[in-house]
């Protein structure tokens, strides 16, 4: 009696455990194959097991005709190679934009299937790190430009051969600042290929500038004229602030400050091996930047905002100018029903200018993303085909405009679609004077230190009601420099 009772208990327990394991095993696939089998709602994509879990749904609603073609193609070709692609949420409709490229690639390369998965920026680094260390992951992966050296140093990226680079058009065919980000200092070759460039500039309201009787060439010429312009605009339009930019609560903390450092004649690092962002020139640049808030040329709560909220403040007409990237162009051209700004005063009067020149020059930040092939990829040849497709002219033009970024190749940039567009052309000019992060493995860490101290500086600014001295800036930057030098082993 006792035995049988215990046995039946054990039995039921074992059953429960099995059930649990089964349940968990169901969802075990890293790419979330569970979702494919379970999302009955998206019946159109549910058939092939290889169907990407991530992007199918938006693609289905956006372009049902487009998704049908590729799902049929591999059925006829059983020897299909499947490439996993990890990408981040680029643009306003990231999954749709990516699916369009994949559909085009699959149509041009029967026999290769691409299985995309979208990672969020917050988790992406960690997932790629695990993929590199675990030896299992995607074939092609999007890397933030500052990540390339880190993963290259970890030995996780398959270098591109000279022949392959030539096949892509050679290193000269890419924007210089972007190409720099494919390197790892101290090692030859490229570890990734530029995919798109994220160039920063100043977006402003052309109508307000005109009302003030100012010419853009004059208004944004240098720091003095820029501040004068902001003050004039604020005087004439009491409801509109001069400028808005995010403070600490944002991913772009160091990027925004770096342009003031460069234009003041400073550098972030000297010889890629030592902190230089606490030089007198750099301090002067950051102080000048902080002054915009201190002298009340910004919207009142600008420091608590993030980039997206700053963009919205501009879209809402609350600020004359913002520090931003090319993505506002697609905002301005998207109808209001789809979340865009089309037909608003702002959209009709959107204009861009390069950052006002400082005593040290007129530079801007160039970031963006690269494409890399992981060493663990079993089909590097097919993976290269995908990289080649995505960096070729056709895809470059379509994809970058869909996501609101700048193409990374000079050919695509000189295409009339981009080059003769009055808005995009500002970015192309700016990109020529682009600067970016150092191609060293420690950059990610440096960035984290910079964000911390520059972010805290915005806290100081907010806490002291905007009065910030260059001493305070120096204190922050010195602290960051000590930490960065420590990380660099100095």
């Amino acid at each position: 009696m006792l035995r049988s009772m215990q046995r039946s208990f054990r039995g039921s327990l074992a059953l429960l455990l099995c059930l649990t394991l089964l349940l968990s095993a169901c969802g075990a696939n890293e790419t979330g194959s569970t979702a494919t089998s379970a999302t009955g709602g998206n019946a159109a994509q549910a058939e092939p097991t290889k169907a990407p879990a991530n992007t199918e749904a938006p693609a289905a609603t956006a372009a049902p005709a487009a998704t049908e073609a590729p799902t049929e193609a591999p059925d006829s070709n059983t020897a299909a190679v499947t490439l996993k692609l990890w990408h981040m949420p680029n643009g306003a409709a990231p999954a749709e934009a990516m699916q369009k490229e994949i559909d085009a690639f699959e149509a041009a390369n029967p026999g290769i299937k691409v299985e995309p998965e979208m990672l969020d920026w917050g988790a992406a680094f960690q997932r790629i790190q695990t993929a590199v260390q675990g030896g299992e992951g995607p074939c092609v992966v999007q890397l933030g430009t500052t990540w390339n050296p880190t993963f290259a140093a970890m030995g996780g990226l398959r270098p591109f051969s000279d022949a392959e680079i030539t096949e892509l058009g050679g290193s000269d065919s890419f924007v210089d600042a972007s190409w720099e980000t494919t390197q790892l200092i101290g090692q030859p070759g490229a570890f990734s290929i530029p995919w798109f460039a994220d160039v920063r500039a100043l977006a402003y309201r052309a109508d307000l500038l005109e009302q003030a009787g100012l010419k853009p060439e004059e208004a944004f010429k240098d720091w003095d004229s820029f501040e004068q312009t902001l003050k004039t605009i604020q005087e004439q339009n009491p409801d509109v602030a001069g400028i808005a930019f995010p403070g600490r609560n944002d991913w772009n903390v160091w990027q925004n400050s770096s342009m003031w450092i460069w234009n003041a004649g400073g550098e972030l690092l000297s010889n890629d091996s030592e902190a230089a962002f606490n030089s007198d020139k750099a301090i002067a640049g950051v102080t000048e930047f902080a002054k915009l808030y201190g002298e009340k040329m910004t919207i009142t709560n600008t420091l608590e905002l993030n980039s997206s909220q700053v963009d919205a403040a501009f879209g809402d007409g609350r600020t004359f100018s913002i520090i931003t990237g090319p993505w506002l162009i697609s905002n301005a051209r998207t109808p209001e029903a789809d979340g865009g700004w089309a037909n608003r005063t702002v959209a009709d009067n959107l204009a861009y200018a390069q950052f006002p020149a400082g005593p040290g020059g007129q530079y801007t930040f160039v970031g963006g993303s690269n494409l890399a092939i992981l060493k663990s990829c079993p089909n590097p040849e097919e993976a290269f085909k995908l990289v080649k497709f995505l960096t070729a002219n056709e895809s470059q033009l379509r994809y970058t405009q869909n996501i609101g970024m700048l193409p990374a190749t000079k050919t695509a940039q000189s295409d009339p679609q981009i080059a003769s567009d009055p808005l995009y052309s500002v970015f192309i000019a700016a990109a020529a004077n682009g600067k970016t992060s150092a191609s060293i493995a420690e950059w990610g860490q440096i960035e984290s230190v910079l964000n911390e101290q520059l972010g805290s500086l915005w806290d100081d600014v907010a806490g002291t009601d905007g009065v910030i001295t260059s001493d305070k800036v120096k204190e922050r930057l010195d602290k960051a420099a000590t930490t960065v030098d420590e990380l660099l082993g100095n």
């Binding site: 009142t300 709560n301 230190v449």
Partner: protein, 325 residues
């Protein structure tokens, strides 16, 4: 207790007698060792190694640096430090203690008031009890998201209520940056933690015999006295539990809310509100200083143990009475 034998037989016999008990606790023991203790021992050792991004693959074979990180922190405690890696950690420690203090004080005080209000006879008591518990089912990372919207200086709900609806203050308050950041974090935490504390206290209040109050009333005790001399002493055991939970949650918590509330995932809440767990996480996963992160975690654990020690001294008596009942 019921199964415990009358005389004291040998250890082996007693163990054999309780074979069922051992079978019952076996899975837990395995889980405790696999998920908690073995990794913890590794973590302790890790805190003596120079493990960073480039040496992570070596893991426990990474260069041994001994108590370097501990020495750094202790020296910085005494003399200060130029490196923001260490001074940031000390700063986060101060914030964490302040955060723990305020979350506990606010949660317990408000929870007590709320529990007293709920522990009356009124018609909508059942609904009220349920509604009070609602914030507890809101996950913390959602809490962070909600409060990000609430705190916005322009158009946020908090300032809308304070300035526009009630008119208590003239100027909107800035919460998400500057010195108020910590309080923004505290209030969000209290909002999420209040329901649980309330219900626990309410549960304890409900088992206090009513005749105690009646007798006190006959003796002429007023409401405040009844609370002071009857309710509060009898609530001491549950208060002890809640304080312990509060201290653990305060010292080890705040990550989810901070990540979502400040800057959509950057997890840096500024020097005013940077807590230890977010700071350690940043050192570990952004700077890849795994060894230093482990050492900081150990120091954090020591800090908690100190607090638990204080807690034990304060609540020792009430723990004993609880154990005796």
């Amino acid at each position: 207790m019921a199964a415990s034998p009358h005389s004291k037989p040998s250890l082996w016999r007693r163990m054999k007698q309780h074979s069922l008990a051992y079978k019952f606790i076996a899975p837990t023991v395995v889980a405790m060792f696999l998920i908690h203790f073995i990794p913890m021992v590794q973590g302790l050792y890790l805190s003596l190694l120079d493990v960073r991004l480039t040496t992570l693959t070596l893991y426990l074979k990474a260069p041994f640096v001994g108590f370097k990180y501990y020495r750094e922190v202790i020296l910085a405690l005494l003399f200060g430090s130029d490196s923001s890696r260490i001074s940031g950690m000390l700063n986060a420690t101060g914030n964490t203690i302040e955060y723990t203090f305020w979350t506990n004080v606010a949660t317990l005080t408000l929870g007590m008031i709320l529990a007293l209000l709920l522990n009356r006879k009124f018609r909508w008591r059942g609904i009220a009890r349920t509604l009070v518990l609602l914030p507890w089912v809101v996950p913390t990372f959602v809490t962070g998201t909600i409060f990000n919207f609430i705190w916005l200086q322009q158009g946020g709900l908090a300032n809308r209520i304070l300035v526009d609806w009630l008119g208590i203050i003239d100027q909107p308050i800035t919460w998400l940056i500057g010195p108020n950041s910590l309080y923004a974090l505290v209030i969000a935490t209290v909002w999420r933690g209040l329901p649980f504390a309330t219900i626990m206290m309410l549960a304890s209040m409900q088992v206090i015999p009513l005749d105690l109050y009646e007798a006190a009333e006959l003796d002429g005790a007023n409401g405040l006295q009844r609370f002071r001399y009857i309710t509060l002493p009898l609530l001491k055991p549950i208060l002890a539990t809640l304080v312990l939970f509060g201290v653990i949650n305060g010292l080890y918590g705040g990550y989810n809310i901070a990540v979502q509330m400040f800057g959509g995932g950057t997890a840096f809440a500024g020097e005013y509100a940077d807590l230890l767990v977010p700071a350690i996480t940043r050192q570990t996963w952004e700077r890849h200083l795994y060894g230093f992160g482990a050492a900081s975690s150990v120091l954090l654990m020591i800090l908690l143990l100190v607090f638990v020690g204080i807690w034990y001294r304060v609540f020792r008596s009430s723990l004993r009475t609880e154990g005796g009942s």
